[in-house]
Subunit: 481 residues, 2 copies
């Protein structure tokens, strides 16, 4: 005993010794009533201070593994260990259709993976090297010295009040009327969208969206057993004639739109089209879920009001916001802005899902935002991303034989190749040359898009963009021959 213990430097010694003895007891190698070595003996054997052993024994006693009898020594307690009931489930056969679908639609599991050395255009996550780590640290220090332990205890399902107020103001600054509206804080866009669908659509309902659209949104709509009606995109947003026709011919209960930096095409819906779209939906009395995706990353042009602003004091638009593609996605904070009564209902759904979003993170984000750090950061980020964007557009047009190159800013562009070119084959061949990207078909609601690809450039260097796009271009050229 104690001959096979190997002490390391990465954890307190007394805990390592405690754990070793626990394991001996739990494996039945030390049995009830057996005497442990004295603290002096063990300190000699292990060549650690006697205090370390005393502390280890104290913890073992606190946790009910041993009992010390004064003047007699330390003895193993009656710890029940029993391995009789070993039986194995076949869990796979038990999985619900929901879990099976979540697995089948999990692109992280099924798409080609990035390998070391590859140039990757797969992700549209922001470049964390741009984050102001010092400002975030300061936010932690400030907020923590103000509220301390309170930030670590339970909070409220709706969210951290100062952050909610900040975001209401933030939305007002986008022209949104917040009269009669309220905000629910969620774990990012994904949870926001899932909660809204949970509360407002029933299986078999018709939901309308742009085609292509955000693949996570497609996944969630499918998990809610929605009949998805995808409407073709044009260079200034959704096709109005097709939208009108779809609404006339189907009992659509809800729409999902990404008017700003549409994912995956990068198209921005024009101001005129925004009004027209809202007019059409108002006529058919179909409410809209608006994804405010990357509104913060416009590089030029006039301010564009989100649909949630253009609907004025009406309550028919639910806006889901997130800074995750710009700032701190690891914190997983997003928000739903909508009718006050509705938000109160969604709050109960949120509470039944996970009680609330981390209060610490909400408080830190609030502190960071309220000090004007977002504006400062966006100034810097826009400059860097714009440079990459300009180069990406230029290289795409120059190197990659295409039908269209779409993308008016943001962190990605979208390419339609000639109709007969299979983007998945382009991907396979590009990967062999160490370049990876996202095939466009995963964004389509109807299995189309086999000749499309999305290229995210946020975390690539200018050189990588040039080099990587050339390689993709060469692959396409070879395939067209």
């Amino acid at each position: 005993m104690f001959t096979d213990i190997s002490l390391t430097n990465d954890r307190p010694l007394y805990l390592q010794i405690r754990d070793y003895i626990r394991q001996m007891i739990l494996r039945g190698l030390l049995s009830q009533g057996q005497k442990l070595p004295s603290t002096r003996e063990l300190s000699d054997t292990l060549e650690v201070s006697r205090n370390t052993i005393i502390l280890a024994y104290e913890y073992l006693e606190d946790e009910g593994f041993v009992k010390t009898i004064r003047g007699k020594g330390t003895f193993v307690s009656a710890v029940s260990i029993d391995y009789k009931n070993v039986w194995d489930m076949d869990w796979n056969s038990r999985l619900t259709p929901y879990a099976n679908m979540a697995n089948r639609l999990d692109i992280v599991k099924h798409e080609s993976k990035w390998q070391k050395g590859m140039i990757s255009f797969k992700s549209i996550a922001p470049d964390d090297k741009l984050f102001d780590v010092e400002d975030f640290k300061r936010a932690f220090q400030n907020r923590f010295s103000l509220e301390g332990e309170k930030l670590l205890n339970y909070g409220y399902a709706q969210g951290y009040k100062p952050l909610i107020d900040y975001l209401l103001h933030y939305m007002e600054n986008k022209g949104v009327s917040t009269q009669g509206k309220s905000i629910l804080i969620t774990n990012g866009f994904t949870e926001g969208f899932d909660i809204v669908l949970s509360a407002l659509v029933n299986p078999g309902n018709y939901i309308l969206c742009e085609n292509p659209t955000h693949n996570t949104a497609i996944k969630i709509m499918k998990l809610h057993h929605q009949k998805i009606i995808g409407i073709d995109m044009e260079e200034d947003g959704i096709n109005l004639a097709k939208l009108e026709k779809a609404l006339a011919n189907n009992p659509v209960s809800m729409a999902f739109l990404i008017p700003s930096y549409h994912n995956p095409t990068g198209v921005i819906m024009s101001p005129q089209k925004r009004i027209q779209v809202l007019d059409i939906f108002a006529r058919y009395k179909v409410p809209v879920i608006e994804d405010g995706f990357n509104e913060e990353l416009r590089y030029s042009g006039s301010h564009l009001s989100p649909l949630a602003a253009l609907c004025g004091s009406g309550n028919s638009v639910i806006y889901i916001g997130s800074l995750s593609k710009v700032l701190f996605p690891g914190l997983r904070i997003g928000w739903i802005l909508g009718d006050k009564e509705l938000i109160s209902k969604l709050e109960s759904v949120k509470r039944s899902r996970n009680i609330h979003t981390s209060f610490l993170d909400q408080a830190l984000l609030y502190e960071y935002l309220s000090r004007g750090n977002l504006e400062k950061y966006l100034k810097k980020a826009r400059k860097t991303y714009r440079e990459k964007y300009d180069l990406a557009i230029e290289c795409a047009r120059e190197y990659i034989p295409h039908k269209t190159v779409l993308g008016e800013g943001g962190l990605h562009i979208f390419i339609e190749l000639a109709d007969h070119v299979d983007a998945r084959q382009v991907l396979t061949r590009s990967i062999r040359r160490n370049v990876i990207f996202m095939p466009g078909d995963i964004f389509y609601t109807d299995g189309k898009g086999s000749n499309t690809l999305r290229l995210g450039f946020a975390r690539s260097t200018l050189n990588e963009i040039k080099k990587g796009f050339k390689i993709i271009g060469n692959v396409v050229k070879e395939m067209e021959e």
Copy 2:
């Protein structure tokens, strides 16, 4: 213009000025082409530095609200504002049965609320004054200087690797065999349980649990349309004869048990009963979801192996852990330990819900735990809570006329009053005397428990426990007369 602007100290001045001008533009009070005052003029008018105005104008330009023409001045851009499409939805009529049920079962909305000045035994949240704020700050500094911005970018659905490894080791220290097992990090127990049910039970399935049981678990089981079979509790855990009978007579697909510090009764399942329970479930091939609730708060007695340990290398127990009733519930971190293959499936469900749990929080918790802070904290917390617990038991027995007083540690006790005494009436009358608690009926699966109450004491002082229990006791006595 600018006469109604009121500048405050809580936000950077340039942002306040920017916001004011944005609002003027968005409300149509400044229209396209209109010229803004020069920076010098406005700096005079508002009595702030000219640099502040320059910065405000710069941001307005970045965001597409104005355009500066050299030598001419700054002009309002073409910002589309339109409030034509105002229409209102009746959202209530659209709510899904799921959302309506989540609302109906939301006890935060429907139970009596704490008011200032009340002594509260309602909550079982930990006392945040016990948290080691300095240790947590140090954890932030250490982890952040090690990983910095990486902690703020996207992570992995399964969780933060070092935390997963720590928790695997932590579970091994409870005697759990982790061979063939894995861990998924969740936003607390609530999300863990919801994800497990989403993946493994279908509507109309039979699920078995203790009666009473954790009210949030009841809510989630109902939201999953489970037929709940509640088995009566005894002083050493679930009634075995009734358990056996229920399994023999119903096609039960899953069980949910809280063997340690059962919520709400505070009963600890005895070591013998744990083995017997597993034997019975093995016989009927029914898997068990084990809630490891408050295992960390034993004040005395030998170590008790969780069911997940007693089932040895078998995979039929899914263990859901959380430190939330002990440490940092505001972070919302819990974990599911189970069969490796199963955890990989649950990971996809987690990804479809909210991508992952905050990586910052996971990293901070890991850093805090790995330094031995949990053990240090538990030593202190156990001492404080034990004192409260001892007094609570003593006062309950002395002051409150009862049939049984249950609770073997933890942060709450459970009282059965005489059969004819209505605990909700006791509550109403106690509230009039400024004492609030949790009526026991919300924990019952079958509408029983009208004569029961749960008293949480974690955040009460010793004086409050004494005073509050006396008041409740007096109310009961008056009602019994």
